[in-house]
C-alpha cells in the first residue's frame, strides 16, 4: 500500500500538484486519470522519487519516502517496477538482456538461474522465443510486454505504469490491461496506472483518482464512475456522444433509468 498525504509540487511559480492525498491499495489497479497537463505524470514521478515534492508525505510500508536516506530509498526502489510510456528499453540490449539487467545488478544468481527467471517472465507476458530480438525489431505492443517483464522480474511489490496503452491499438491495449490486472492479483502488487484510455478505466479501474489542474477532483471505482455527478469528470470520461450513449445504456441496464440531464430521445438519435 502507498499512502500519499497532502502532496504539493510546483515548477517555478506554477503549481502542478496541489495538496493531493490518496491511498493506493495492494492487489488493486489504482488508476490516475485526467486530461493532458492535469499533473498525472508529475504525480507519478513524485511517487517513484524522480521528482522531489515541495511538501507532503509519500508513505511506503508506513515510512516516508521523501525524507528517508539514500540507502533506504534504494531498498524501496528495489521493490518498485515501472513500465514507461515509451517502454524505455535499452536499445543496445536484446529482449533477454533487458529483462536480465535488474537480475545482473541486484542478485548474485548464476547465469542459469537468471536465464530461467527471464524465460519464466517472458512466458508470463506471452513472449516466449523473443529472447534474442532487439527492441528495434519488435512491435509497440511487444515492447510494452517486455517493459512489463522487466518491471516484474524482481517480484516487485509496487508496479507503476505510465500510460501503458499509448500508441497501441484497442485490441492490444486490452491484452496489456488484462496482463497488468492478472499480475496485480497474482502477486498482490500495488499497481498505479496513469492513463486516459477509457477502456482501461472501465475494465481494470479498481480504484480511480481523477485529477483536474493538479487537484484530486474525484475518487471512486469503475462502477461508481458511471453514476458520478461530477460534471468535469463526466465531460472528461464521456467526451463523445458514443460514450455518453454507452453510459446511458449501462445506467439503464443497472438502474432502469438514465442520466437526469439526458432523455431517451437523445440516446436514440
Amino acid at each position: 500500500m502507498i499512502e500519499v498525504q497532502n502532496l504539493k509540487k510546483g515548477f517555478g511559480e506554477k503549481i502542478v500538484i496541489n495538496d493531493v492525498s490518496a491511498v493506493m491499495e495492494a492487489g488493486k489497479c489504482n488508476l490516475i486519470i485526467g486530461s493532458s497537463g492535469s499533473g498525472k505524470t508529475v504525480f507519478m514521478k513524485c511517487l517513484v522519487g524522480l521528482f522531489k515534492p515541495d511538501a507532503g508525505k509519500i508513505l511506503y510500508h508506513g515510512e516516508d519516502f521523501t525524507t528517508m536516506g539514500d540507502a533506504d530509498r534504494k531498498e524501496i526502489r528495489k521493490e518498485i517496477g515501472m513500465l514507461f510510456q515509451g517502454s524505455a528499453l535499452f536499445d543496445s540490449l536484446t529482449v533477454e538482456q533487458n529483462i536480465q539487467f535488474p537480475l545482473n545488478m541486484f542478485t548474485d544468481w548464476t547465469l542459469a538461474e537468471k536465464r530461467k527467471r527471464v524465460n519464466e517472465v517472458l512466458d508470463r507476458v506471452e513472449l516466449k522465443g523473443a529472447n534474442k530480438k532487439f527492441p528495434a525489431e519488435i512491435s509497440g505492443g511487444m515492447k510494452k510486454r517486455v517493459g512489463i517483464a522487466r518491471a516484474i522480474v524482481l517480484n516487485p511489490k509496487f508496479l507503476f505504469c505510465d500510460e501503458p496503452n499509448s500508441g497501441l491499438d484497442p485490441q492490444t491495449s486490452l491484452v496489456i490491461d488484462k496482463l497488468i490486472k492478472e499480475l496485480t492479483l497474482e502477486y498482490d502488487i500495488t499497481t498505479v496506472i496513469n492513463t486516459h484510455d477509457m477502456n482501461s478505466v472501465m475494465e481494470i479501474g479498481d480504484k480511480i483518482i481523477y485529477m483536474y489542474q493538479g487537484v484530486k477532483e474525484w475518487e471512486g471505482n469503475n462502477k461508481e464512475i458511471i453514476f458520478s455527478k461530477n460534471q468535469r469528470l463526466n465531460d472528461f470520461i464521456f467526451a463523445s456522444e458514443f460514450l455518453r450513449d454507452a453510459k446511458d445504456m449501462r445506467m439503464l441496464e443497472q438502474t432502469g433509468k438514465i442520466d437526469e440531464n439526458r432523455n431517451m430521445e437523445d440516446m436514440m438519435k
Binding site: 517513484v48 522519487g49 524522480l50 530509498r73 534504494k74 531498498e75 526502489r77 528495489k78 518498485i80 515501472m82 514507461f84 510510456q85 515509451g86 524505455a88 528499453l89 535499452f90 536499445d91 539487467f101 535488474p102 545482473n104 545488478m105 541486484f106 507503476f160
Partner: protein, 267 residues
C-alpha cells in the same frame, strides 16, 4: 550629458542580459561539479560496472583507432614535407628535419590535434548516447531500479577515456613520426638513416611527460563535457543534436584553452 530614459533602459537591459549569462555560466559549472561529485558512489554490482567499463574502453579506444591512425600518419608526413620546404639553408643538416618533426608531433600534434578530433568522434557519441537515453526515459528507468545513473553511465566513460586516450596519443605520436620517416624517404628529402639519427639528437624525455599530461587533461575534457551535456538534455531529437554539437564546440575550446595553460605552466 544627461542620460535619456531610453539610454538608461538600454543600459539596464545590457547589464541584466550579461548578468543573466554570467549566472547561467555559474549554474552550468555548478551542475557539472555536482555531476562529478555524484559519480563517486558505491557500485551496486562491481561485475556489471567492470563490464560497462571494458565496453567503454573498447568503444572509445578501438572505435577511434582507425581515424587516429590515418590522421597521425598523414600529420607526420605533411610535417616532414613542410619542414623540409622551409629549411632551405645548406648549413642546416637534414637530420634537423627529423628533430623538428619529432618535437612538433610529440608536443602538439599527437596530443592536441588528435584530442580535438577525438572530441568530435568520442564526444558527440557520448553526448548523443546519453541524450537519447535521457529523452527515451532509459535513465529514469535505471534510477527507478535504484541504480546511481551518474556512477553507472558517466564514471565508466570518464575512466575509460582516461585510460584509453593517452594510449591513443602514444600510438599517434609513434605513427606520426613513422609517417614523417616514410614521407621523407619517399620524397627523397632525407634518408631513413638521417631521419633516425635526427630522432635521437637532443631528445628531451620531458617532452613525452608533457605530452602525457596534456593527454590526461584532454581525455578528461573529451569525456566529461559531452557526458554533462548529454546527461542533462531536455526535450527531443532536436535537443540531442544541439547538445551533441554544443559539447563538441565547448570541448574543443576547452582543449585549446587548456593547451595554452599547460604550455604556459609546464614549459
Amino acid at each position: 550629458m544627461v542620460e535619456t530614459l531610453q539610454q538608461s533602459i538600454e543600459r539596464y537591459i545590457v547589464f541584466y542580459a550579461t548578468s543573466q549569462q554570467r549566472m547561467k555560466l555559474f549554474t552550468e559549472i555548478g551542475r557539472f561539479l555536482l555531476m562529478l561529485k555524484g559519480m563517486f558512489a558505491k557500485p551496486e554490482n562491481s561485475k556489471v560496472y567492470w563490464k560497462e567499463f571494458m565496453h567503454q574502453c573498447a568503444d572509445i579506444g578501438i572505435g577511434s583507432l582507425g581515424i587516429v591512425v590515418i590522421i597521425s600518419i598523414f600529420m607526420g608526413a605533411v610535417s616532414t614535407l613542410q619542414t623540409a620546404y622551409q629549411l632551405v639553408s645548406p648549413l642546416i643538416p637534414k637530420s634537423s628535419i627529423a628533430q623538428i618533426v619529432r618535437d612538433t608531433v610529440l608536443l602538439e600534434f599527437a596530443p592536441t590535434l588528435v584530442c580535438i578530433v577525438l572530441a568530435g568522434v568520442v564526444g558527440s557519441k557520448i553526448a548523443s548516447e546519453l541524450g537519447n537515453m535521457r529523452v527515451s526515459e532509459q535513465i529514469d528507468a535505471l534510477e527507478i531500479m535504484g541504480i546511481n545513473t551518474k556512477t553507472y553511465l558517466v564514471l565508466p566513460k570518464i575512466v575509460a577515456a582516461l585510460l584509453v586516450i593517452p594510449m591513443l596519443v602514444v600510438i599517434s605520436a609513434a605513427l606520426g613520426i613513422w609517417g614523417g620517416r616514410i614521407a621523407g624517404s619517399a620524397a627523397q628529402i632525407l634518408s631513413t638513416t638521417d631521419f633516425d639519427k635526427g630522432l635521437l639528437q637532443s631528445f628531451l624525455p620531458y617532452n613525452v611527460f608533457f605530452a602525457m599530461v596534456k593527454a590526461y587533461v584532454f581525455a578528461f575534457i573529451i569525456s566529461s563535457v559531452p557526458a554533462y551535456y548529454g546527461y542533462h538534455v531536455k526535450g527531443g531529437a532536436l535537443e540531442i543534436g544541439r547538445a551533441s554539437t554544443k559539447s563538441v564546440v565547448v570541448s574543443c575550446v576547452l582543449i585549446l584553452f587548456a593547451d595554452y595553460l599547460l604550455a604556459a605552466i609546464l614549459l
